[in-house]
Symmetry: C2
Subunit: 206 residues, 2 copies
DNA sequence: AACTTTCACATACCTCGGGTATGTGAGTAC
DNA sequence: GTACTCACATACCCGAGGTATGTGAAAGTT
């Protein structure tokens, strides 16, 4: 039986997305040529343009998918714990290991901000994974585990820290790098925890 | 008097760098057309290629200059203090305000990693500003202000945190955003400080 | 001082890749 | 069964990075 038109369309779109994802991850946005993605899927350039308005549009769709998967991985890792603090730690660690995948690194962390613009990238990041981080921090503040403060700046700082760390880990040859980074991150997070003695150490003349 | 050939060459090169810097900062690497940079300086494309091997080469030269200036600003701000801890804080704050300049943001933080590749970008960042951060952290560790640990991962985490925060600040409409971010950063840094009670709060099962 | 060489530019051209305008033939709807 | 839709193919445009080659004036050489 011949496939229905909607099926055919969906199949082609899926094939384009998969092929594009592979290539974007391997070669980076700039070095991927749109027509080659199409041909690798046995379709002409014109046909591909029937599915995506532009090369950037194709890239955007890929980024969205990768982001979504990443967000799910982080959320899943967090939900394996009950304690909010452990949820935060688990989420952070899950992010670091997920970013070991070149797909995440090259596409989401490296190319997406420039290709889509930082603004759009950030919106997607927010929707997918940074949101989890912000929620975790809010929960911990509500519980008094970490001091009350605006969430947005802290979320950005931590999110940026992990993004950069992930890129650094990717090219590090030191086998201990991941463990060291996780320790350093734990260090940073633990430092955030509210403690009565804090005022004595760092009076808030900030 | 006619300018000597070396003078002429230097003048043209300088003009190209200045013009390119303006345009890269305003429009981003991709939207800048090489020939237009040349013509704005009253020189043809071929002439510009006599000075820079490629558009990427021109960009690389611009990035190097901006990075160098940034590094100097950070170092200068730090050296206005004597206490190593205050040097670290001042350096971090100087970085955040320096990154308010679109030149730094767009060129160094946004485009450079993709255009030059993360590896090269990181080497330049290291040479210019991240080095100062690493040295500050090492000094504080040697003094026992913060616990001994590998410097590299912590440097990357903090550097990434500030890069991302700078980008976030750039598009934030909240007038308090900078102050809040500085506070959050202070929070993170203060959390790093060694304290006797630490073992009680976070036993190192890491 | 004439002669040669160098080199900072200009001119002209090539190529590749993103994007578009326009078919076409097999499903789909009435 | 006829008209329409739409998932594709074909053919073309053009902008931009890069290159090959020319040229004239400054800078060495004798």
């Amino acid at each position: 039986m011949a496939p229905t038109r909607a099926e055919q369309r969906a199949a082609t779109r899926r094939a384009l997305l998969d092929e594009a994802r592979r290539r974007f991850a391997a070669d980076g946005y700039h070095d991927v040529v749109f027509a080659e993605v199409a041909h690798a899927v046995r379709v002409t350039k014109g046909a591909a343009y029937h599915h995506f308005a532009s090369k950037t549009g194709l890239f955007r769709a890929v980024v969205a998918e990768v982001q979504a998967e990443l967000g799910e991985r982080v959320a899943a890792a967090a939900q394996r714990h009950d304690d909010p603090w452990e949820q935060l730690r688990a989420g952070c660690r899950a992010f670091l290991s997920a970013a070991a995948d070149p797909t995440v690194r090259r596409i989401v962390l490296l190319d997406a901000p420039t290709v889509l613009g930082w603004h759009e990238w950030r919106a997607m990041d927010e929707a997918a994974s940074a949101r989890h981080l912000a929620e975790a921090l809010e929960t911990l503040m509500a519980a008094g585990t970490i001091p009350d403060q605006p969430v947005a700046p802290l979320t950005r700082l931590l999110s940026g820290a992990m993004n950069e760390a992930a890129l650094w880990l990717a090219q590090s040859t030191d086998p201990q790098a991941l463990a060291q980074t996780e320790r350093a991150l734990d260090h940073l997070l633990t430092g955030l925890r509210a403690r009565p003695a804090e005022e004595l150490i760092a009076p808030r003349e900030w």
